[in-house]
Symmetry: C2
Subunit: 217 residues, 2 copies
């Protein structure tokens, strides 16, 4: 691992003269890294798929780990905000929750998200910054946004959230249920829209039941 692995941000989007080759490298590297993981991915394979020579890759990114970090960081950055509906005040709480659930499930069950998650998880010890960036861009971002929305619900209905962020975390945890587990383990095909909708409904109903003021929470 070289020290140049830190300069990922200026490597990924600068208006360089030859952006074409660079983009091809990024695209190819993303495919290879996410499909095979960091260790099993080879620079030869990336170079071949990108249609460039290996040396061109090294000229742009310096080393394998730097390229990997650049790829994963850009994928994480693309994750921010996705999977969480904007806090539309005109909608009912139930609708907001259901929409959030649907879009969140759609995002985390996308094949690219699944492979990204697997890759980061398997390399989180070697690349702690990537794990942190993923967490902040993905789960943490989603929880904070939904938590802020739940905190804005006060006199609204027959529900209450004493700890909005904790409730949001619980909500997303419920969404990462058995369906998600089977998908990330590659034990079944990705669910279609109907299955996603059904599970989003189930989780939303359960979540709302748990936070009715008739309960003790």
């Amino acid at each position: 691992m070289t020290q140049s692995a830190v300069k990922f941000d200026q490597s990924i989007d600068q208006p360089s003269p030859s952006t074409a080759k660079r983009d091809a490298i990024v695209k190819a590297a993303a495919q290879v890294f996410l499909e095979h993981g960091y260790g099993a991915a080879s620079m030869d394979q990336i170079a071949q798929k990108a249609g460039v020579s290996k040396q061109t890759i090294y000229s742009h990114f310096g080393a394998k780990d730097a390229l990997f970090e650049a790829i994963v960081h850009s994928k994480c950055a693309a994750l921010t905000g996705r999977g969480v509906s904007s806090p539309d005040e005109s909608k009912s709480l139930e609708d907001v929750l259901y929409d959030t659930a649907s879009s969140f499930l759609t995002v985390i069950l996308a094949p690219e998200s699944v492979t990204l998650y697997r890759t980061i998880l398997s390399e989180c010890v070697r690349f702690p910054e990537l794990a942190s960036a993923f967490y902040r861009s993905g789960p943490r971002s989603a929880c904070d946004r939904l938590g802020a929305f739940l905190a804005s619900i006060e006199d609204n209905e027959s529900v209450e959230f004493k700890d909005p962020v904790a409730s949001a975390e619980m909500y997303f945890a419920m969404l990462r249920g058995d369906l998600y587990m089977q998908c990330i383990l590659s034990l079944r095909e990705m669910p279609n829209d109907n299955e996603v909708a059904a599970y989003a409904r189930e989780v939303t109903d359960t979540f709302l039941d748990a936070h009715r003021i008739s309960g003790n929470n």
Copy 2:
């Protein structure tokens, strides 16, 4: 990948004459595989840590993938039943749930479980059988056992479970919340007993609130 990779079960526990070396290999391989993953783990490293030559490993297991499968399968088998309290009928539902939550969290947050989960996830495409074995021994086993217990709760209290297995899945999903996410991403130290107890309590309370008959579920 060789065809001999299938014979994992008879490789892991047969009363061979020289069980000492074999056990040393298994122990060393488990450490190396779970720490570095399949790709980054080298047979040389395993041989050195086991105190045997590489050829001895190949004599016993044939190939790297067969050794890997043997190790992971044994680790998965050791998972069955753990993390789920036995359905003690003398205890209250709340106590059973809380005990289940505590022991489940303790198991899945154990460093060995975390590394096993990471390893299987990163290799689930190359080794589909391992992913399936893990799922059956771990999450599925836990859900089925708790689901059966929840199904036995009928006239008991002020709660009801229309779909016991689905409720059990939801319960374990709630337990795999933000705390678990941060731990498997290696973003924080493993929680102590107090933190585990507090989260087990929070999940149990929320779960019970969601299934009160006053609710719509």
